[in-house]
Symmetry: C2
Subunit: 230 residues, 2 copies
């Protein structure tokens, strides 16, 4: 890790919700406390049991955060992208990760160490409030994830995921919308708590019903998003 020197127009903290309300001078002050690191696609950023050094903020790329059991079965908790953070608990105590983070693309991250973050919060109390907001939103997301995993069947979960991608990628279109999966089908399956085989079978069925159209590994055309939801 070296002091954060990601290109200036994309300083770690400029776009991060917990910091982006600050003035330029305040950001410069905080930037001195940041360290940056890069990871190649496929590399492990941390493992369960690793001691957390501080708050990690993803600056570029995608990070897969997941739980893995003894048999090697994986449940993805979430995919972190630009401005997402992980390891908030390390701001309060010695913390050992309980999940694994893997770079699923090349990744750049920033690290803020506990003591530095405590100083920063002391200087700018508003940051604690912002971080609380971010973590509260994430808690809500995680509770909704539980709902998906336990109260919806496989087809409902797949549709829910597709609809989420559609909302992000083509908010205003209703028919024949082309979406690009932001992760592999294997990882999508891991996120919604099923196997790749089950996902593949279900997508094939939906295609045979004329509801979607599969193009290559990562592209799906949704024929009619309202009809899909039913």
């Amino acid at each position: 890790m070296v002091a954060c020197n990601h290109q200036t127009d994309r300083l770690c903290l400029v776009h991060v919700p917990i910091f982006n309300h600050l003035t330029k001078e305040e950001m410069n002050y905080i930037n001195k406390h940041l360290q940056s690191a890069s990871y190649e696609k496929g590399s492990i950023i941390f493992m369960p049991e690793d001691q957390a050094q501080g708050l990690i903020v993803v600056n570029d790329g995608k990070v897969k955060l997941s739980k893995i059991n003894q048999d090697g079965k994986e449940q993805i908790l979430r995919i972190l992208t630009h401005t997402d953070s992980v390891g908030e608990l390390s701001l309060f105590k010695e913390y050992y990760y309980t999940s694994q983070a893997e770079a699923i693309t090349d990744v750049k991250v920033c690290l803020i160490r506990r003591n530095d973050m405590q100083d920063i919060i002391q200087a700018y109390p508003e940051i604690a409030r912002k971080l609380l907001e971010v973590v509260s939103e994430r808690l809500e997301d995680t509770e909704n994830h539980i709902e998906q995993l336990t109260l919806h069947n496989v087809e409902q979960r797949i549709i829910h995921a597709l609809v989420q991608f559609a909302k992000e990628q083509a908010p205003n279109k209703e028919t024949n919308l082309l979406i690009t999966l932001p992760l592999s089908k294997g990882n999508l399956a891991g996120l919604i708590g099923i196997t790749l085989e089950t996902l593949s079978r279900n997508l094939a069925l939906m295609e045979s019903q004329g509801r979607i159209q599969l193009e290559g590994q990562r592209k799906i055309i949704i024929k009619d998003i309202n009809q899909l939801k039913i």
Copy 2:
């Protein structure tokens, strides 16, 4: 709701982690902003879609927080007891609950409205930091809940739950420890994501194997906690 007048030795906030670092005067100041309410066992405190009024802190009793799908199937997210809070997102925006809260015993709660809480945080920034800690811990718990629900089989989940209760109720005993379930078997099943029937069958099996002994509806004797974990 009326201004908080729960008996003085158990003022809502005296024991609440987010407030209990404050001085008596500071607590008195905050106490003026609290409202209290009581709910009978079985009553619904809020439903999905209800508009949140502010932060709810449970003062006494047990509250079941759960998601319920269209078919009426329920997934319990967590059981709230003394000092637990719910609705942090309402501190930041108009918030409509996405889960249901039911009093599973008689319950007393405190409510802090958004504007009041914002004033309080302004006056005592340390409270935002405390609340961040509480919510970060809860996020960790919720992620571990996902792990239980998706990566462990039914027997492992049941044992995990029993071991948790044992840790709370008889931290230093290893054999023949009597635990009292803090919730009905139906609710326990709902928490670990299985049906009551599946729970019942598995407990019966474990009893037939001599690993546990069932007594009445809420008591279980764990013969050997170390052997149980295997």
